[in-house]
């Protein structure tokens, strides 16, 4: 069963959380559990009771209520009942509707397996795909050249001659790149706008972003001459679509089987596109490798898979090719019920910022665009100077906390730590640190509800 904190982390919004909590003491007609499943029936506004089931191993949810939220309030209530009073699950044999759902899930998993080993494409399909690829390549080439010109133009006339503080300026560039089938370049343009709005040293950060863009464009021009791993990074950053299915069927992909700890989670919302990117950060307890599971969701659609922070699973992860491979997909996973603390003690961390920055330099040497580099540091304390929150290591050296990191979270962490050193897991983002997970004494906490709006 999940803890209250873990449940809170997977809930879509506060209204669902509140509604779910209220239903904990609701009139449940039946409550039951098996090894990986829990279920219940509750009277709602419809004439028949709502049937709610949860597969805890994923977790996956099923409910007969009309709600479009995912998980719905009934499923949330069921999770809270599990967390607060497991003894309420009295029934041990699943009802028919639950048996059917379990069977459907099994069948679906088998179908997915079968889909992976489907027949190879026909010659015509291959030719068509080639044509599409060629057309796209041409469009992207044109987009990259146009971006070069724009960049040169900005430099020639100076950024102050352009309305760089206006949303419309950047969105226009972004739209042109989207039309040129280079969505990665469009994202960089939107990020530039974000820099201009919120970053404490906005001009410097903007110029950093533009010069990294320049390096990317130049690398794309010379794509045939660069290293194959870097080539994957360039294509991915320009915005070539990487299909999850292709990776899952690839035989050459870098695959790692491990116990994966879900240590951090946040989302980035792109308001103008009505798109939300969900970032889930994993750490392999034996391989000591980090991984990022990235999922994009339009509007209010449900996430394909839900990851509960501060839990872990045993599974196989497949990494996309990169000079600094981080992004991965889960090929197969099994819930893991061993005590978490014992596994966590096997980790190793950086002892100070110098060590971490040496590592960052190594990463940048192989992937110069790398941002959000996951790291673990031991024994830091929170401090602040000149209106900026900083993290101080044992050598009395400081690095700044991310300027968008919620201040309430900082004070909360400071209160919990009482000014004593604590361990952090997080991301080094260009020149700022984002805390995702922190350990005080023997307890570890996740930073919940982290959201960046762009």
């Amino acid at each position: 069963m999940f803890t209250n904190e873990q449940i809170t982390a997977i809930i879509p919004d506060n209204a669902s959380l509140s509604a779910g909590k209220k239903l904990v003491s609701g009139s449940w007609l039946s409550l039951g559990k098996s090894e990986h499943f829990i279920w219940g029936e509750i009277k709602g506004s419809s004439s028949t009771p709502y049937q709610t089931g949860i597969d805890l191993s994923e977790p996956a949810f099923k409910c007969s209520c009309p709600s479009r939220k995912f998980p719905c309030k009934h499923a949330i209530a069921l999770l809270f009942i599990g967390a607060e009073n497991e003894s309420r699950f009295t029934s041990l044999s699943p009802p028919d509707w639950m048996v059917q759902w379990m069977a459907n899930r099994e069948r679906k998993a088998e179908q997915q397996e079968a889909h992976k080993s489907k027949l190879p494409p026909t010659e015509k399909q291959v030719k068509d795909a080639e044509k599409r690829k060629e057309k796209r390549r041409k469009n992207v080439d044109e987009g990259v050249e146009e971006m070069f010109l724009r960049l040169n133009n900005m430099l020639k006339h100076g950024l102050t001659s352009f309305a760089i503080g206006d949303y419309s300026f950047w969105i226009e560039q972004a739209s042109r790149m989207t039309n040129a089938q280079a969505p990665g370049l469009a994202t960089i343009m939107k990020r530039c706008y974000q820099m201009m709005q919120k970053h404490p040293s906005r001009e410097r950060r903007l110029i950093t972003e533009l010069s990294l863009l320049y390096l990317l464009l130049k690398s794309y021009r010379n794509i045939d001459t660069i290293d194959s791993l870097l080539k994957s990074d360039v294509e991915s950053l320009i915005g070539s679509i990487q299909k999850k299915e292709d990776l899952l069927t690839s035989e050459s992909a870098n695959t790692i089987t491990d116990h994966w700890l879900i240590f951090g989670k946040y989302k980035k919302t792109y308001v103008s596109d009505n798109l939300t990117a969900h970032y889930v950060w994993l750490y392999g307890l034996e391989s000591k490798r980090f991984a990022l599971i990235l999922d994009f969701v339009f509007g209010n659609n449900a996430l394909n898979e839900i990851y509960v922070p501060n839990t872990y699973f045993q599974g196989e992860l497949m990494y996309w090719d990169s000079g600094f491979p981080l992004r991965a997909v889960v090929k197969q996973k099994e819930p893991c019920l061993d005590p978490l603390e014992a596994m966590r003690s096997s980790r190793s961390s950086f002892k100070n910022w110098e060590e971490m920055l040496d590592y960052v330099a190594d990463v940048l040497a192989v992937q110069p665009w790398a941002d959000n580099i996951p790291v673990r540091i031991d024994q830091v304390v929170l401090t602040y100077e000149q209106d900026r929150w900083l993290l101080l290591d044992k050598n009395e050296q400081v690095l700044p906390l991310h300027h968008l990191f919620p201040v309430s979270q900082i004070w909360h962490i400071l209160t919990l730590s009482g000014g004593y050193p604590f361990n952090i897991w997080g991301l080094w983002d260009h020149d700022e640190f984002i805390i995702l997970y922190y350990g005080i004494k023997e307890y570890y906490f996740t930073v919940n509800k982290l959201e960046f709006i762009i």
Binding site: N14, T160, L215
Partner: protein, 551 residues
């Protein structure tokens, strides 16, 4: 200045205006530049960026916070109470975000008050949310008490909370200039209480810079103008401020000041716009209302004219129309603008704290059955001034209304508010008890999910279990009268949402009477269900158990 700062200049100004050779670059970068003459600014910038990112050198600093070495001496609150506190704090955070109207803060108030009284503390996870929720609140001291030594340590280190704790006058100016909205409100409120002129000066100086929301709030803090300078400022701004809400806030204050010219103007308008028309034969005396276009046009559009009139004391109406209060209300009832007039009078009573008029207004409204549920909610704090029969009359009226439309949240709100405040004062005769029980049964049917009922009442899922309410009791005497005392140990395990005041003792004679009635009507199946419930509920009279009773 480093390479990237230098290159930033050229990026901002443009290569048309500034050439690379004018920049002071490091030797490393210059060497790149010289070995590759075709490197342009873009190349140099990316080199500088990569060098900076890969060669980031952390600054040196000293720790700002001395670790908390104080020993906690208060015991931590029991697990159950802590669970409730965390739940309440979660709700508070959600509530703040949603800006909803749900009222449950009193439970949190109760938690910290009882926690402080009984020398318990909350665990560390609750400290920051508790202190931030109670900063600037009258219960801040209790909140501090339940956060123990770690709470004190946090307060000592938090720049805003620390200054509020120390009350250092040297910090005040800084506080007013740079504090957030809540801090500034707190500062101005305190200053207005201790040094009113100083407070007005700060308010006046900051007026242009403050946004409309701030101006509106600060006007309410400064309140009624206290001298001619303040009056002149208000009179000027009431017509020139760009925000309508601020204009209304200023007008409200001016209308409470007899010396204000706006007050005089409104009085003039009033004299011209209100006319008493004497009735004859079957026609009743009535009031006619017509506003001249004298005040700014937009004031009329926003209903400001009515707002302004509601600041005029009711006594002015009586003098103007030469009527008694009862006659005025009667004429108002016959008027086409009856609803508006009664609303104006109610607001006038409220603004001028005219209790006599207020009570008369309520009595008249009950008598003439024109009382609106919204109005009951506004006058709820004076209902207990009415004789118990009238007070009960209002309650029974809304009990009946609510039963007709059981899902109407406003009507239910009125019933629960009345019950919560005066449940133990009503005249609980057989009819009232039956009516109320019938209402409860209907509620039960309409909201099978008990949480919905709770949500309507308090917005939270705190309730006293039915086992507490529906206990089997025993008879005993108190002050030579027999009462039924509920016993809470042998009860059906079903939850029922009660959290209002109920008489803790029930006179035996009434209980017996109901039982007799129950026997008499036992053939009627629906009614017997009702009566069974009556018997049960009569055993369930127990006031709301505070959260921390168990501590």
């Amino acid at each position: 200045m480093n390479d990237l700062d230098e290159l930033t200049k050229i990026w901002l100004i443009g290569t048309d205006q500034l050439s690379v050779d004018k920049l002071v670059l490091s030797e490393t970068l210059q060497s790149f530049s010289s070995s590759h003459p075709d490197y342009n600014v873009l190349d140099l910038t990316i080199l500088a960026v990569v060098m900076e990112r890969a060669g980031f050198i952390p600054a040196k600093a000293k720790p700002k916070f001395t670790p908390d070495d104080a020993q906690e001496w208060l015991p931590i609150a029991p697990q159950e109470a802590l669970g409730a506190l965390k739940k309440l704090l979660n709700l508070l955070q959600e509530n703040t975000r949603k800006n909803s109207n749900i009222k449950f803060e009193y439970c949190l108030d109760e938690w910290i008050t009882l926690g402080a009284e009984n020398d318990f503390r909350a665990d560390e996870e609750c400290i920051y949310p508790l202190l931030s929720a109670y900063y600037g609140h009258e219960l801040f001291e209790s909140a501090k008490a339940v956060t123990g030594e770690r709470g004190k340590w946090l307060l000592k280190n938090h720049p805003t909370w620390r200054s509020s704790d120390d009350n250092d006058p040297n910090d005040d100016e800084n506080f007013w200039q740079t504090g957030n909205h809540e801090q500034r409100i707190r500062f101005l409120t305190q200053l207005r209480a201790t040094s009113p002129k100083e407070a007005f000066l700060r308010f006046e100086q900051g007026y242009v810079k403050d946004n409309a929301q701030e101006r509106e709030t600060f006007i309410k803090i400064i309140g009624v103008p206290q001298d001619e300078t303040e009056l002149a400022f208000y009179e000027k701004m009431v017509l020139t401020d760009k925000s309508v809400k601020v204009q209304i806030a200023l007008a409200e204050m001016l209308l409470l000041t007899e010396q204000s010219s706006l007050f005089g103007e409104v009085r003039e308008i009033f004299k011209r716009s209100i006319r008493f028309k004497k009735g004859h034969f079957l026609k009743k005396n009535t009031l006619e209302l017509e506003f001249p276009d004298q005040l700014p046009a937009h004031w009329k559009k926003w209903g400001m004219s009515f707002t302004l009139l509601s600041y005029l004391p009711v006594s002015e109406w009586l003098t103007h129309c030469n009527l008694s209060l009862n006659e005025l209300f009667k004429a108002g009832l016959a008027s086409d603008a009856s609803e508006k007039l009664f609303n104006i009078w109610l607001n006038a009573c409220l603004h001028h704290q005219d209790h006599l008029c207020w009570e008369e207004w309520l009595r008249f409204s009950v008598e003439h059955k024109r009382l609106k549920p919204e109005e009951v909610l506004s006058v709820i704090n004076i209902i207990d001034r009415l004789p118990v029969t009238q007070c009960t009359k209002i309650f029974t009226h809304y009990l009946k209304e609510a039963q007709k439309d059981i899902k109407n949240p406003l009507l239910n709100d009125v019933v629960w508010c009345l019950m919560e405040q005066y449940g133990d004062q009503f005249q609980w005769r057989k009819e009232e008890v039956l009516l109320f029980l019938n209402y409860l049964l209907k509620m039960d049917k309409a909201f099978p999910d008990v949480n919905k009922v709770m949500q309507m009442q308090t917005g939270i899922d705190l309730y006293v279990p039915y086992s507490v309410l529906a206990g089997i009791g025993k008879f005993d005497s108190y002050e030579s009268k027999n009462y039924f005392y509920p016993d809470y140990y042998h009860a059906p395990k079903r939850a029922y949402p009660f959290n209002f005041k109920f008489p803790t003792m029930i006179p035996v004679d009434m209980y017996t009477e109901i039982e007799e009635w129950q026997k008499k009507h036992s053939d009627d199946s629906d009614f017997s269900v009702l009566l069974r419930n009556i018997a049960e509920v009569l055993r369930c009279r127990q006031s709301y158990q505070p959260l921390l009773t168990k501590i």
